[in-house]
């Protein structure tokens, strides 16, 4: 089975060389794709020089992690697609291999990576409580918002990608609903830049939106009640009919 590694990226010139080289060193990796979110630095140039396939996000919206992931999954030609954050300082080939191994062994169709650290603030305060409420089966995942994932390429064609930060939890819920075999894989320690607190507001909003939208779609929230509730707190776009 061939593996495509996808790095969503924007203004990550200082990480891109190492990330692409590391990905190519992992076993079974046939292509590395860098999906650029409109970088102002030399991210694209460096990625091309290192032999990665490069595409710029189809629409430049911020945050547009989901758009980047969708483009990456669509451009990929490997049987397995691995998504990894580009700015992991301690990224190793083994890190990538660990992500796709359960799929190679037939134990899973989708792998969610987790790390040896306390889960983030949005995970603990937004994602986990909402998942516990609406999808208790998924509450066991230590890091449901982790961006390190791997899956059979074909499964990514069956789901809708959220545009922003809600993409990771959205994929998890959608794959679960479609009966995809999911496992969580401990990837060890991840050295990664933490976002400042003020930057988490949008992220928390989009994660909540992604979960609530699916809960409504799956009939777990009463639509009439939701409409009434939202009218009391102002405008929230849940993407569903009548809420726009």
């Amino acid at each position: 089975m061939d593996v495509s590694v996808v790095f969503p990226s924007r203004n990550r010139e200082r990480y891109v060389r190492k990330a692409v080289r590391t990905a190519f060193r992992a076993k079974n990796v046939s292509e590395v794709i860098v999906v650029d979110g409109g970088s102002c630095d030399d991210t694209v140039k460096t990625a091309l020089k290192e032999g990665a396939k490069v595409i710029v996000q189809s629409s430049l919206i911020y945050p547009g992690k989901g758009v980047a992931m969708k483009d990456g999954a669509y451009l990929a030609s490997g049987d397995i697609v691995v998504f990894v954050d580009i700015d992991i300082a301690n990224l190793t080939p083994q890190f990538i291999e660990k992500l796709y191994t359960p799929i190679m062994m037939g134990k899973a169709e989708f792998v969610k990576g987790c790390f040896e650290r306390a889960a983030g603030r949005v995970t603990e305060l937004v994602a986990k409580p909402l998942l516990k409420m609406f999808y208790p089966e998924l509450a066991k995942f230590k890091q449901p918002l982790s961006g390190e994932i791997a899956g059979l390429r074909k499964i990514f064609y069956q789901v809708e990608f959220e545009n922003g930060w809600g993409v990771d939890v959205g994929l998890l819920i959608d794959f679960y609903k479609k009966g995809v075999k999911i496992v969580e894989e401990d990837l060890g320690f991840k050295e990664h830049e933490m976002k400042p607190l003020h930057a988490l507001t949008d992220m928390a909003y989009q994660v909540a939106e992604a979960i609530l939208k699916r809960a409504m779609r799956d009939g777990k929230i009463d639509e009439v009640w939701m409409k009434k509730y939202i009218s009391t707190i102002g405008e929230i776009d849940l993407g569903g009919e009548g809420y726009a």
Binding site: I55, V56, S58, S59, L60, A73, Y74, L75, Y157
Partner: protein, 220 residues
Amino acid sequence: MRSIVIGGGHLAYFTITTLREIDPEGKIVVIEFTSEKVEMVKKTFPYTETLLSSIDKVEEYITSNRSLIDALVSATESDALNLKYAKHSIINEIPIVITVLNNPLNEPIFIKEKIKYIINPYKTIGPKVKEIVNKFRVNKIYEFSRFDGGIYAFKIENAETLHKIRSFILKKDLPFFTVSIDNKIKSSTLENIELGDTVYVACSDKDIKDLLEKIGGEKK
């Protein structure tokens, strides 16, 4: 002519309309991935054959119909898919392969992948703005698809430019017309060109480059 349009969004809308205009009796097949858009395309363009397909089945469709497809337009909402389908069509020797870009920043990437016909819908923004604001020396207002050339507009600001443009047109025997400062189209004679006029010339990019070097104007 059998044309395949992949995608049923706004990019496809204009593509289908134009294909119908080019060949009203031709066959147009639209491939879409969502049932809602398939229904919309069916209603809007009843003369098309509309197929609901999964993303990974399109390449199979192209391969199995490669002997019949005359033109393929990849106009989905993802540039990644557009690139993938265009490359697959070229490998399968589809005679005319066109991609429509969602993000103009992807144009160099598509060129690098040897996609010959790339439609960048945003390309008219620059020339239009220049024309409206009316502050330019040279403006490429139309780009030919089949070779490196186009229709260029020159604003005649001084006697030296006027002289050089006249010699350039005469030497290369280029088709041109002139619009006066009060927006009237003048007859196409070199003697009629005056200061303040805008001269529209059809020529190759290389010729323009040479001319610009002579008159010391901007490159594009």
